[in-house]
């Protein structure tokens, strides 16, 4: 019996090692899934411009972003005007990273995230989804903001 136990041990060690490797691989995958980094702010502007089938207009985007649209909040209520510094959630006070890409390298680099936040936040500000044209205009303005 003791010999058997001795013989089994290397397998147990190998199993433990492979579990660790799997765990590390899983963690790495998790991080990758967390931030797809599959796009760029310029690509997002191009995507919405193509969908909207009209040239994007930065000035129109600025007015849209900074004005209330019948509701209590504008985009700037949380993101600031201009959104080149840390914003603050209008309700909870939670800090929000700058939205303008020149001031935040993570901004608009994950297309699923872009869609999720446009969906949620447009509903908060306009009580509807934003049109592709509106998104293109906002992107054009945000992308034009430089230090």
């Amino acid at each position: 019996m003791p010999t058997m136990t001795f013989l089994l041990r290397p397998y147990a060690a190998a199993a433990a090692l492979s579990r660790t490797v799997l765990l590390i691989a899983g963690l790495a995958l998790g991080t990758a899934a967390a931030w797809a980094a599959d796009t760029s702010p310029a690509a997002q502007q191009a995507r919405f411009t193509a969908e909207g089938r009209a040239p994007a207009d930065a000035e129109r985007g600025r007015v849209f972003f900074t004005s209330r649209q019948g509701g209590e909040w504008s985009c700037a209520s949380c993101h600031g005007n201009p959104p080149t510094a840390q914003g603050k959630h209008a309700n909870t006070g939670k800090l929000i990273k700058p939205l303008a890409p020149a001031f935040n390298p993570m901004a608009f680099t994950d297309s699923a995230r872009v869609d999720k936040w446009f969906r949620r936040n447009c509903n908060d500000v306009l009580k509807r989804e934003c049109s592709a044209g509106e998104k293109a205009d906002v992107l054009a303005w945000l992308n034009s903001l430089k230090p």
Binding site: N91, T92, K94, R119, N121, D124
Partner: protein, 176 residues
């Protein structure tokens, strides 16, 4: 027959028992957040507000919250169904473990708000309306305005800090 324990041993056993009691009295000092937290909880929930510990609301409240994310206290916090399911499971598994929630008479606070729980209101009863209204505080939901360790689930008094903009008088009153 010799006594079961020497008087010296009895002293130590007594001290250990007293220490155990003290430790449980200090339970507030640990983190209220579970040791492992899904990434999605930080990304999806804590992007807009403090990562509220599941311990602070009963299971029924979390269930209602997760069923109504499209209208979440005036905001659209909607998520894809898979993430909702993952977070709901974690919230249910860790719900209501804070001792004052367990002791709570009513099952859920009004509107499922942590800040409307009887224990919350009692603990914050001396804070003036003007302090809640400070730009640095804004709302009772902004735990981190005063609780420096809120994002790590730590709410004990040792980590309290002044929110910006308190008057001298309010600073004096702080520790009352």
């Amino acid at each position: 027959m010799p006594p079961l324990m020497s008087s010296f041993t009895r002293l130590w056993v007594g001290a250990a028992a007293a220490l155990t009691t003290l430790t449980s009295a200090w339970a507030d000092h640990g983190s209220l957040l579970p040791r492992s937290m899904p990434k999605a909880y930080v990304q999806e929930c804590a992007s807009c507000h403090t990562a509220y510990p599941p311990a602070l609301l009963p299971a029924a409240s979390w269930q209602r919250l997760m069923g109504g994310l499209k209208q979440h206290y005036g905001s659209d916090a909607s998520l894809d169904p898979a993430t909702v399911a993952q977070l709901s499971q974690w919230l249910q598994a860790n719900a209501g473990t804070y001792k004052r929630v367990r002791e709570g008479v009513s099952e859920a606070p009004p509107q499922d708000r942590i800040t409307r729980s009887a224990w919350f209101e009692r603990k914050h009863r001396r804070i003036e309306p003007a302090v809640w209204a400070l730009p640095s505080v804004k709302s009772a939901a902004n735990c981190a305005a005063c609780h420096g360790g809120a994002d790590q689930g730590r709410y004990d008094d040792d980590e309290l800090r002044f929110p910006a903009g308190l008057t001298q008088r309010q600073r004096w009153m702080w520790h009352d």
